[in-house]
C-alpha cells in the first residue's frame, strides 16, 4: 500500500508533464489539470513518507524496467520516506503557487508545455532517486533529475546570461554524475553486483573505501553546493522561474544530501572518523563563506541561493559530527547528530521554499529582484510581508521557529565532545561550533538586511511604489502553509523528531538515548539535566509578558498616537535615496571580512570647471566576486582549453591524414582482436 502510494506520486508527476504535452495537441484539455496532478503527486508523496515513517519497515520490489536482464530494484525505507516527505511538502506547496505564477507562460501553449513537462519529469526523477535500490536505477533517476532541471534553468533562454548559467549547471551536474558513477564503481568492483544489498556486502580495503568516499563527497557535494564546487548554484538558481528555484534549492539539494547519507551511512561498510573530520571542515567552510557571500548579494534570488550553500554547509558539518561519534562507538550521540542534520534539512526545505516563493511573489508584483530597488512593501503587500517575515525569522534561527531547534540540536551535538579521546577532535569540534555560532549570527544580519530593505522603509523605485498585494488565493496559500509549518515545528519539534528517530534507528541501529525525554512539550536530546528546551512554555510566557506590558501601557496611560512627518533635522527634502542600501548596510562586514571576497570598488569623480573641490558627478561601482571562481574554476578552464588545443593538433583538416588515422585504427583493432 505504501509502495503503491510512492509509485503513484511518481506516476502523477509524469502524468502532469504528459497532460501539458497533450494540451499542446488538444487545447480543450483543462490546463489546470497539470497542477492538480502535481498536487496529487505531492500529496501522495507526503502520505507515503508519513505512513512509512510511522510504521518503519524496509519495503522491497523489483520493476521489470530498464535493461532486459537487469530489472530495477526498488526499496522504500525510513530514510527514503523522510526525503519523500520533504519532496512531497514542497511539491504540494508549489502546485498551489504555480497556476497563478505561470499565468504569463500559460498564454503561450508551447512554453507552458515545456515548463510543465520538465517540472513533472524533474519531480519524478527526484522521487525515483529515493526509490532506487541499485546503482543503475540510481544513476538513471539521477540523470533524469539533472537533465530535466537543466531545461528548467534554461527555460528563459532568450537571455544570454541564462544560457550560460544553464550550461554551467549541466556541465557541473554531469561531472558530478561521473564522480558518483566512479564512486559506485569502486564499491561495485569489490561486490557481486550493483544492487545496494550486494554493495553493502562488499569487502573493501580502507584505502578503496576512502577513495569511494572522496568521490562520492565530490559528486554529491557538487550537486549539494559545497564550497568550492558550489559555483553553479548562485548562477543557476536565480535564473529559473521562482517555483522551480524553490524546488531546486529546497528539494534537489536535499536529494544530493540523501545520496551522500545513503552512500556513507548505508552502503559503505565502515565509517572512519577522518571522513567525519573532512565533512566537518568542508561544511564549516561552506557555511561561513556561503553566508558571507549571501550577505553581499544585491539580487534577492542570488542571495537565497548562497544562503542555501550556507545551510547545506551546516547540515554537512553536523553529519560530520555524527560520523565522528559513530566511528568512536558513541551511537547515541551519532543519533543526535543525524537527527540534527536531518531536521535541519527538513527545516531548510520549508523556509527556503517559502523564501523563494516569496521572492517570486515580489518579482511578480514589482518585476524587480534587486534589493536596492525595493522598499516599503510591508504596506503595499501586508500578507506577503508577514509570510516572508516568518521565513526570515526561521532562517535566522530565532527561538520559537524551526530553524532554531535544529541549530540548538547541532550545538548540543558539538558540546558532547568531552566523550572523545582524540585530542585533535576535542579541539577541532569546539572551534567548528564557534564557527557555527558566527554563521548563525551572520545569517541573522543577512536576513535583517533582506527584510528591512525590501519591506521596510520608503519605496526606492516606481515599481516598488506601485506594488499591489497578491490576490490569487493559491499563490498566497502555498507560502502561508509553509510559514505555518515553520512555526508549528518550531513549537512542537518533537512531533517531527519522533519520526526522524526511526531513520537513525534504521541507519545507526540506535535511537535517542532516552525515549521519554523527547516528550510532547520538552526537547531534551541527551538528558533533561544536560539541556532542555520547552518551546510551548516559552510561547505562553511570551504571550503573557507581551499581554501584560500592552495592557499596562494601554490601560493606565492611554494616549493616542500622533502621526507626523519624519524628522529631517530641519533641512527638508528627505528622499528615498537617502536610505541605507544593500552595499551600505553590509559595508562594515565587508570591510571586516575583506579577505573573504574579491572586491572591486571604484569611485569616479568628475569635477566642475577644473576645480579640485567642486564635485559635479560621482559614479560608484562595486563588484564582489567569489574566490573559488578565480582560484578554482578559471585555472581548470584554462587547463582544459590548453589540453584541447594540443589534442586539436591532430585535426589537420586534410582528408589523407584522416584516412591514415582510420587505417592505423583498423590495424590496431585487428592486432587487439588477434591477441
Amino acid at each position: 500500500m505504501i509502495l503503491f502510494l510512492a509509485y503513484s506520486a511518481i506516476l502523477f508527476s509524469f502524468a502532469s508533464g504528459g497532460i501539458a504535452v497533450a494540451h499542446l495537441f488538444k487545447p480543450n484539455i483543462n490546463k489546470q489539470l497539470v497542477f492538480w496532478l502535481l498536487g496529487a503527486s505531492g500529496l501522495s508523496a507526503i502520505l507515503a513518507g508519513l505512513s512509512e515513517l510511522i510504521s518503519p519497515e524496509i519495503r522491497l520490489d523489483t520493476l521489470s524496467l530498464g535493461l532486459p536482464w537487469i530489472p530495477w530494484h526498488v526499496h522504500f525505507d525510513s530514510l527514503s520516506a523522510f526525503f519523500y516527505l520533504i519532496i512531497g511538502i514542497s511539491v504540494f506547496a508549489v502546485s498551489f503557487y504555480a497556476p497563478h505564477y505561470t499565468h504569463h507562460e500559460q498564454k503561450n501553449a508551447e512554453n507552458f508545455a515545456i515548463l510543465s513537462l520538465f517540472t513533472g519529469l524533474f519531480v519524478a526523477g527526484m522521487m525515483l532517486v529515493l526509490l532506487a535500490d541499485d546503482a543503475f536505477m540510481f544513476m538513471i533517476a539521477w540523470e533524469l533529475m539533472s537533465v530535466a532541471s537543466y531545461f528548467l534553468v534554461a527555460f528563459q533562454h532568450e537571455n544570454a546570461a541564462n544560457r550560460r548559467a544553464a550550461f554551467l549547471y549541466l556541465l557541473m551536474a554531469e561531472v558530478g554524475a561521473l564522480l558518483i558513477i566512479l564512486a559506485f564503481g569502486v564499491i561495485a568492483s569489490f561486490a557481486e553486483g550493483f544492487t545496494f544489498d550486494e554493495l553493502r556486502a562488499s569487502t573493501l580495503s580502507t584505502t578503496w573505501m576512502s577513495i569511494a568516499f572522496v568521490l562520492a563527497l565530490m559528486g554529491f557535494g557538487m550537486k549539494a553546493g559545497l564550497v568550492p564546487i558550489h559555483v553553479w548554484l548562485p548562477e543557476a538558481h536565480p535564473v529559473a522561474p521562482s517555483h522551480i528555484s524553490a524546488l531546486m534549492s529546497g528539494v534537489m539539494l536535499k536529494v544530493a544530501l540523501y545520496g551522500l547519507i545513503r552512500f556513507c551511512f548505508d552502503l559503505l561498510p565502515e565509517i572512519h572518523w577522518q571522513w567525519g573530520v573532512v565533512l566537518l571542515i568542508v561544511g564549516t567552510i561552506s557555511a561561513l563563506s556561503g553566508i558571507l557571500y549571501a550577505m553581499m548579494q544585491p539580487n534577492l534570488k542570488r542571495l537565497l541561493a548562497y544562503s542555501s550553500v550556507e545551510n547545506i554547509g551546516i547540515i554537512i558539518m553536523v553529519l560530520g559530527l555524527s560520523m565522528i561519534f559513530l566511528a568512536n562507538d558513541h551511537e547515541e550521540l551519532a543519533a543526535i547528530g543525524l537527527l540534527a542534520a536531518l531536521f535541519h534539512a527538513f527545516n531548510h526545505s520549508l523556509f527556503k521554499n517559502l523564501l523563494f516563493l516569496g521572492a517570486g511573489m515580489i518579482h511578480h508584483q514589482t518585476h524587480e529582484l534587486n534589493i536596492d530597488m525595493l522598499g516599503g512593501l510591508i504596506k503595499k503587500m501586508p500578507k506577503t510581508s508577514m509570510i516572508f517575515l516568518i521565513g526570515c525569522m526561521s532562517i535566522s534561527s530565532l527561538p520559537l521557529f524551526n530553524g532554531f531547534v535544529s541549530e540548538w540540536l547541532a550545538f548540543q551535538t558539538a558540546l558532547q565532545v568531552d566523550v572523545l579521546d582524540n585530542g585533535v577532535l576535542r579541539s577541532l569540534i569546539p572551534v567548528s561550533a564557534a564557527a557555527l555560532a558566527l554563521t548563525a549570527a551572520l545569517a541573522a544580519a543577512c536576513f535583517v538586511k533582506v527584510f528591512g530593505l525590501i519591506f521596510l522603509g520608503v519605496p526606492r523605485s516606481r515599481h516598488a511604489e506601485k506594488a499591489k498585494e497578491i490576490e490569487d488565493k493559491g499563490m498566497l496559500f502555498a507560502p502561508a502553509m509553509l510559514a505555518g509549518l515553520c512555526f508549528f515545528f518550531g513549537i512542537f519539534p518533537s512531533s517531527m523528531l519522533h519520526l526522524i528517530d526511526n531513520v537513525s534507528k534504521q541507519l545507526l541501529g540506535s535511537m535517542l538515548p532516552q525515549k521519554e525525554v523527547l516528550s510532547f512539550l520538552t526537547l531534551a536530546p541527551v538528558s533533561p539535566e544536560q539541556a532542555s528546551y520547552t518551546a510551548p512554555l516559552i510561547l505562553i510566557g511570551a504571550l503573557i509578558a507581551a499581554g501584560v506590558s500592552f495592557w499596562v501601557l494601554h490601560r493606565n496611560f492611554e494616549t493616542t498616537l500622533r502621526i507626523a512627518p519624519t524628522w529631517d533635522c530641519g533641512f527638508g527634502g528627505l528622499t528615498p535615496r537617502m536610505q541605507y542600501t544593500s552595499s551600505a548596510f553590509t559595508m562594515p562586514l565587508r570591510r571586516i571580512f575583506a579577505k573573504a571576497f574579491l572586491i572591486d570598488e571604484k569611485v569616479e569623480k568628475t569635477m566642475r570647471e577644473n576645480t579640485k573641490l567642486n564635485v559635479a558627478d560621482v559614479r560608484y561601482s562595486l563588484v564582489i566576486q567569489d574566490h573559488s571562481w578565480i582560484r578554482v574554476y578559471q585555472p581548470i578552464e584554462r587547463g582544459v582549453n590548453r589540453v584541447a588545443k594540443q589534442v586539436g593538433r591532430i585535426q589537420t583538416g586534410n582528408i589523407r591524414t584522416y584516412l591514415g588515422y582510420s587505417l592505423a585504427t583498423l590495424i590496431l583493432l585487428l592486432w587487439v582482436v588477434s591477441l
Binding site: F411, K449, A564, W567, F585, P588
Partner: protein, 314 residues
C-alpha cells in the same frame, strides 16, 4: 509553589533593572566629579515617557509599533531564564543558555528592523552597525558560555551554577579566559564605552541610539526598559556563573533573602568596576571594534581550548 517563586523572581528582576541603571549612572557621576541624579531617576523617566504622547512617522508600519513590545518581551523571557537569587527554579529548565542567546538575537532582530522601518539614514546606520557588532559578539559569548557548560557538562544555567557551587573554589584557567571574554562581550552588547556610548547622539559614533532615534513616548519607554534589563541580565549572568556563592539553593525565606543580598552586593561591585573602566577608557572608532571583539573571541577560544587540553578529566 516553585512556579510562584519563579514568577516572583522574574518580577523582582524586571523591577530592579532601572535601579541598577540608576546606580551605574550614580557611580559614573561621582567618578567624574558631577552631582549624581537620584537613584530612582530611571523610574521617573520611564513613567514620564509612558505618559507622553508617542509621535510616529508617516512612513512607519505596524512593525515599528510592535517591535518595542517584542523586544521587551524577549528581555523579560531572558530574565526569567537566568538564575537571579535562586537556582533550580522551573523556569530555568524550560530554556538553556543557547536559548538565552536566542532571546537576545530575537530582540536584536526586531530592533534592527525597527531602525530600518522609517527609511532614514540614521536608522539604517544604527541597524547595520548593531548587526555587525553583534554578529561578532554573539559567537564569542557562546564560546565563553560553552567553556563553562562543557565543564559542567550541561547547557542548563541552573545546572552549571550548581556544578560550580558543588566543586567549590577551584582556579580554572579556562574560567578566567571565559570571564574576561564575557566581560568584553557584555560591554559591547549592552552598548557601553568603548564600543558605543549611550549618552551620545553624534551620528559618527552612535549605534544603539541611532536605531531608536524615531521612538518616543511609551515605545521609547519599553525600549529603554529593555536595554536596562539587558544590562542587568549580563551583570547577573557574569556574577552568578563565575561567582555563584551565596545564591539560594533552597526556597526558604532566609536563603532567598540572603541570596538577594549577595547578588545585590555582586552587582554593586560589578557596577563600580565598570564605571571605573568607562571613566578611564575613551570610545574607540567603529572599525577598531572588530579588533576589540576579535580579542574577546580569542579569549573565548583560549578558554575553551585550555578547558579541553588542561582540565579535562581524560
Amino acid at each position: 509553589m516553585n512556579w510562584i517563586i519563579a514568577i516572583l523572581q522574574t518580577t523582582l528582576f524586571v523591577a530592579l533593572a532601572p535601579f541598577l541603571a540608576g546606580f551605574m549612572k550614580f557611580c559614573k557621576c561621582r567618578l567624574q566629579n558631577r552631582r549624581a541624579p537620584s537613584l530612582f531617576q530611571p523610574y521617573r523617566d520611564l513613567l514620564k515617557l509612558t505618559r507622553k504622547q508617542p509621535v510616529i512617522s508617516e512612513d512607519a508600519s505596524w512593525l515599528f509599533c510592535a517591535a518595542p513590545y517584542i523586544i521587551f518581551t524577549a528581555m523579560v523571557l531572558a530574565a526569567s531564564v537566568v538564575p537571579f537569587i535562586a537556582v533550580d527554579l522551573p523556569t530555568s529548565a524550560e530554556a538553556d543558555v543557547i536559548v538565552l542567546v536566542g532571546f537576545f538575537a530575537f530582540a536584536r532582530f526586531f530592533l534592527a528592523l525597527a531602525g530600518l522601518d522609517i527609511g532614514t539614514a540614521f536608522g539604517g546606520m544604527g541597524s547595520s552597525r548593531e548587526m555587525t557588532i553583534s554578529s561578532l559578539a554573539e559567537p564569542t559569548m557562546l564560546m565563553a558560555v560553552f567553556t563553562l557548560t562543557m565543564t559542567a557538562s550541561t547547557t542548563n544555567l541552573s545546572g552549571a551554577i550548581e556544578h560550580v557551587l558543588n566543586e567549590g573554589l577551584i582556579l580554572r584557567p579556562s574560567f578566567v579566559f571565559a570571564l574576561f571574554a564575557l566581560l568584553l562581550v557584555a560591554v559591547a552588547e549592552t552598548g557601553r564605552i568603548p564600543v558605543d556610548n549611550p549618552t551620545t547622539h553624534l551620528e559618527l559614533t552612535m549605534i544603539h541610539e541611532a536605531m531608536i532615534l524615531e521612538y518616543s513616548g511609551r515605545h521609547l519607554a519599553l525600549i529603554e526598559f529593555a536595554s536596562q534589563l539587558k544590562f542587568m541580565l549580563y551583570g547577573v549572568l557574569i556574577s552568578n556563573i563565575f561567582f555563584p556563592w551565596g545564591i539560594a539553593e533552597d526556597f526558604g525565606l532566609s536563603a532567598l533573602g540572603y541570596g538577594l543580598l549577595v547578588i545585590t552586593g555582586k552587582l554593586i561591585f560589578l557596577c563600580v568596576v565598570l564605571a571605573f573602566a568607562e571613566t578611564a577608557v575613551a570610545k574607540m572608532r567603529l572599525f577598531r571594534v572588530q579588533e576589540y571583539l576579535g580579542f574577546a573571541y580569542l579569549l573565548g577560544l583560549l578558554g575553551m581550548l585550555s578547558h579541553i587540553i588542561l582540565e579535562s578529566t581524560r
